[in-house]
């Protein structure tokens, strides 16, 4: 893997640790952390902040039978089995759960211009998809109404801001406008999540928008 240059923001990591992100964003964050030691360490930091917040709470009284009730729960199901790790696939583990297997199991649909996508099932607060962009192909030029996270799994793309290679994540917000172009040489596969519809500049993608669910 090439060196990761574009990481999660502190805000995303803290929101992930606090548990306030949409499910689709959690998936992108968890997938990046699976690929990035640096952000894994930062996640542990934010979890430690959460632990300190909880630890500092003024204790809330429990009902009298609470400890006994907990022991009863334990007696009903004493210990977690140590589950064997599944054989490593070609996708990071959190993504494998959503795809239901490896890259070869992804159910792609054509969306035009040689680009294929697979929408992954999450709750409605954000939409998350895998994108397969042929080497050298362009995505439609667009702006954002909310936050868009794009994590590169394979290949690379360039846009007005920078170059994004495998493991890199681009965090785009309302002020950002870009046109990602896949690099020559290898098809680019990305995991992309948005919490609001994109803003397209040309009418063709605008007409297609309801069908593509972008």
């Amino acid at each position: 893997m090439n060196e990761i240059k574009h990481h999660l923001t502190d805000a995303l990591l803290m929101a992930y640790s606090a548990g306030s992100l949409p499910e689709g964003f959690n998936l992108v964050v968890a997938t990046h952390i699976s690929m990035c030691d640096e952000c894994r360490a930062r996640m542990h930091e934010f979890d430690t902040v959460g632990g300190a917040v909880m630890d500092a709470e003024a204790p809330e009284g429990l009902s009298d039978g609470s400890f006994a009730a907990t022991l009863a729960l334990i007696a009903a199901e004493p210990k977690d089995a140590i589950v064997a790790k599944p054989a490593k696939g070609d996708l990071p583990a959190p993504l494998q759960d959503y795809v239901g297997g490896n890259l070869a199991d992804v159910k792609w649909r054509k969306v035009g211009g040689g680009v294929r996508q697979a929408i992954l099932k999450t709750d409605k607060s954000a939409s998350v998809r895998l994108l397969h962009i042929p080497a050298g192909a362009q995505m439609p030029d667009h702006g954002h109404r909310g936050t868009e996270l794009t994590l590169v799994l394979q290949g690379a793309f360039k846009d007005e801001t920078d170059r994004f290679g495998a493991g890199d994540i681009e965090v785009a917000s309302e002020d950002d406008h870009h046109q990602p172009v896949a690099e020559m040489g290898q098809d680019c596969i990305c995991l992309a999540a948005t919490d609001a519809p994109l803003r397209f500049n040309s009418w063709i993608p605008r007409i297609a928008q309801p069908f593509l669910r972008i």
């Binding site: 894994r40 334990i74 709750d123």
Partner: protein, 174 residues
């Protein structure tokens, strides 16, 4: 540090008195945390019992070189909250290839536990307004963009303490 020994006693000897002490300290804090996060007192009580039962069941997964006991309990409580209150799945990062089976280095454990305690002290020492913002973020009251404003706080200097301990740890494991 003491809680780490309690967890080991629960894991190795199913020690109920160690569990009772952990319960006595943490369960009322977990309940308070869940209530502040929007759970009713009854729901918070039920979820707290589940969290503490999970601690017992997963004691073999606790790695004192990666987290303090309060950090670990926080992550269990947070995940239950997402599950129960938000009815959402929680994608977790892939486990690293090194597991809790490997006996962690005692020096790393000690360093990490100390750093975690210091982080708690540093947060407590923040001016009220700043501390309030962090606390509200962890109750799930702030959106991602509201948190973006909060991360401009001097949290960076606080976090760097824990970063050093974790960095040292990761390099040893590589």
């Amino acid at each position: 540090m003491a809680w780490v020994t309690h967890l080991a006693a629960i894991r190795d000897n199913q020690d109920q008195s160690a569990f009772a002490e952990v319960f006595g300290y943490f369960a009322p804090r977990v309940k308070a945390f869940l209530m502040k996060s929007g759970a009713s007192p009854d729901l918070a009580e039920d979820v707290t019992q589940e969290v503490m039962a999970t601690l017992w069941r997963k004691a073999h997964m606790f790695d004192p070189a990666k987290a303090s006991v309060s950090t670990w309990i926080f992550t269990i409580a947070r995940n239950r909250r997402i599950d129960v209150l938000r009815k959402q799945r929680r994608p977790e990062p892939e486990d690293l290839t090194w597991g809790p089976e490997a006996e962690p280095d005692q020096e790393d454990v000690l360093a990490l536990q100390q750093e975690s305690a210091q982080l708690g002290e540093a947060i407590a020492a923040l001016p009220d307004k700043q501390r309030e913002l962090i606390v509200r973020a962890y109750y799930g009251e702030l959106t991602h963009s509201e948190i973006a404003d909060a991360t401009g706080l001097p949290l960076g200097t606080i976090k760097s303490r824990i970063r050093l301990a974790l960095d040292r740890l990761r390099h040893q494991l590589k």
